[in-house]
């Protein structure tokens, strides 16, 4: 147990990195306490992957500095590598090899002798439910299995810090749940996890603290609760029967509830943010009141739902611009938040 370090897992100050004209990181500061899940939330192109690659010693920053457990990621890269592991966005195991071969190879590279490496591989395969697939080439694995073998490969060396770069992107809900369970188990045993994600609910469920990144900078940082209350804890989606009643509905919601209202491209739809800082009612009560007000004003509501604020809404609240660079990312995030 003595290997585990309390204190800070990551301290990064003013990290910058450009690729040609693109400034992927524009002065990123990050302080990650050891022993918990730290979420890095942002849309595609926000700089999440670049940040992870710098912290995992794969990329050098143009400016700024970063330390992992007190070791500089550039000048003491080897000391950092001894304590971290990375599961990238793309399969970081060899697809031509079988699951077992991949793990034995990594075991040998971490200094285990033949039989010990094989034993370790077997343990990992069993713990990740891959014993049956051990002899199959990884390219024949399903998305969920592939992600599992990836994570198994990453914890082979019981890292003190595990980077998970969008571990659930593209996974079905069941596989996503499995990954979440794995992350919880990993953290329960003292490993710090830095998790990047596009999904607010994922960060919310797993992370103790979250940094929201946009254009290569941290634009908000805090516990999920703090972040959400800065945004409002929920979103009411409304569809009216008559588009002509929308201006009236908008006015009512703004004046009675005193919440931000957004008109959707669909002429009968609008959304309102509820449960924010300024209100003494919780999201549910506010939503109920909104529905009551509308109904008593004679506005016919065809569809009404209360959901989590989406990543887009977090961005709107924090930056006054939506997370536009990636339409698909936003759509996915909306879907995940519903």
């Amino acid at each position: 147990m003595s290997r585990r370090t309390s204190g800070l897992a990551i301290e990064a100050e003013g990290l910058t990195r450009s690729f040609g004209e693109t400034h992927a990181l524009a002065g990123l500061d990050l302080t990650v306490p050891a022993g918990a899940v730290y979420g890095v939330l942002g849309p595609n192109g926000a700089g999440k992957t670049t940040a992870v690659r710098i912290l995992a010693t794969l990329l050098r920053p143009d400016g700024g500095q970063a330390r992992v457990f007190g070791h500089d990621v550039v000048t003491e890269a080897d000391a950092v590598r001894a304590r971290v592991s990375l599961t990238g966005q793309y399969a970081s195991v060899d697809e031509d090899l079988t699951g077992a071969e991949n793990l034995v190879l990594l075991g040998r590279l971490l200094g285990l002798r033949g039989p010990a490496a094989r034993q370790r591989a077997e343990q990992l395969l069993a713990a990740f439910g891959l014993t049956e697939a051990a002899g199959r080439q990884v390219k024949k694995y399903s998305g969920g299995m592939r992600r599992r073998i990836d994570i198994a490969a990453s914890i082979l060396n019981t890292p003190d810090l595990l980077f998970l770069d969008e571990p659930t992107t593209g996974l079905d809900p069941r596989s996503r749940n499995q990954v979440w369970e794995i992350v919880r188990a990993v953290v329960a045993h003292g490993t710090t996890v830095l998790l990047t994600t596009q999904y607010l609910d994922e960060a919310d469920k797993l992370a103790g603290r979250i940094a929201v990144i946009d254009h290569g900078r941290v634009i908000a940082e805090g516990t999920p609760g703090e972040l959400k209350s800065s945004v409002g804890s929920g979103t009411v989606h409304l569809r009216l029967r008559d588009a002509a009643q929308r201006p009236e509905a908008e006015r009512l919601l703004r004046t009675v509830l005193d919440v931000p209202v957004q008109l959707e491209p669909d002429p009968v739809a609008l959304t309102a943010r509820v449960g924010g800082d300024g209100s003494d009612l919780d999201a549910g009560a506010q939503a109920a009141r909104a529905l009551g007000e509308l109904t008593s004003a004679g506005i016919v509501v065809d569809d009404f739902s209360l959901g989590q604020p989406s990543l887009d809404e977090v961005f709107l609240a924090l930056t006054d611009h939506p997370a536009v660079p990636a339409e698909d990312a936003r759509d996915e995030a909306l879907e995940a938040a519903r």
Binding site: V84, G88, Y90, D96, R108, L109, G190, T191
Partner: protein, 285 residues
């Protein structure tokens, strides 16, 4: 080939439920093994190369069929014109075509590395606390096996067609040994290009542009004394010419010291210059 999305097995799939206990056992911090030596790490990576050959045996096509075609094609194409008979030409030509074929195969080192990087598996290797060049050394050691295989195939075809080396078994082994040493060194040129170029195709393109003139403008096919002076100058400076001379001499049971020295000098130069450039790029991406 199978698609990437195959999920279904014959039986009803059992749903995996992560168990905190099983994961806990895995994560229990034990004694951390000692970091492997550079040799052990390189060997682990060359084991990977062997596994890849085992799983994708089609990739041996270029070290078996391609060399056979090269030998047959040129022996009968040039044999009658350049010597009295294909059989006589073969005595001169076989060491040269062996060098040509094997040196051409070295380009797959670069192509393979480029593909690996594209797929992301090198990201994992580069975050491991092992001797940095190990991944590349191991990869090239795996390729060396392919070079030996190609050389053996060519030698066999040659012997069948009537190649009778005066140097005997030892001479032939010495010749193949020289060729393998040079090819190992030359592979570092391609690891460098594999790292700096964006796609597999561009690596292929650059390799061809370098390899064709290098192998054809040499003493592989004909005696350079028949060439114009400016071309002779190039041929004499060409590392392939020196390699071919020394392999030819070895297989004939003699020694061409000048060619031998040049061969080793060129090999050392490739490792020092391109090995360094490769590692610089590898570390700095």
């Amino acid at each position: 080939m199978s698609s990437d999305t195959a999920t279904s097995t014959g039986r009803a799939p059992t749903v995996y439920v992560p168990s905190a206990e099983a994961l806990g056992t895995i994560l229990a911090p034990g004694e951390r093994p000692r970091r492997p030596s550079p040799l052990a790490a390189s060997l682990a990576f060359s084991w990977r190369a062997l596994l890849k050959i085992k799983h994708v045996p089609e990739q041996l096509f270029d070290v078996t069929a391609f060399p056979i075609i090269m030998v047959l094609m040129f022996t009968y194409l040039f044999g009658g014109a350049l010597a009295d008979s294909p059989r006589e030409y073969l005595q001169f030509f076989l060491p040269g075509i062996m060098v040509t074929s094997v040196v051409m195969i070295t380009m797959y080192t670069g192509v393979g590395l480029n593909t690996d990087i594209e797929k992301g598996v090198f990201d994992r290797f580069r975050t491991l606390p092992v001797w940095r060049p190990a991944a590349l050394v191991g990869m090239i050691v795996g390729d060396v096996l392919r070079y030996v295989l190609a050389a053996t195939v060519i030698l066999t075809v040659g012997l069948v067609l009537g190649f009778r080396p005066d140097g005997g078994l030892l001479g032939v082994l010495a010749g193949i040994g020289l060729l393998v040493v040079f090819s190992f060194a030359f592979s570092w040129v391609w690891t460098f290009f594999g790292l700096i170029l964006r796609s597999e195709k561009s690596v292929m393109g650059v390799s061809m542009m370098v390899l064709f003139p290098l192998t054809f403008l040499s003493n592989v096919f004909v005696d350079p004394s028949t060439m114009p002076g400016w071309l002779q100058a190039f041929v004499q400076a060409n590392p392939i010419t020196h390699l071919v001379s020394s392999v030819r001499a070895a297989m004939a049971g003699t020694t061409d010291s000048t060619a031998l020295i040049w061969t080793f000098l060129w090999s050392a130069m490739f490792i020092v210059v391109f090995g360094t450039l490769t590692m610089y790029r590898y570390n700095r991406r």
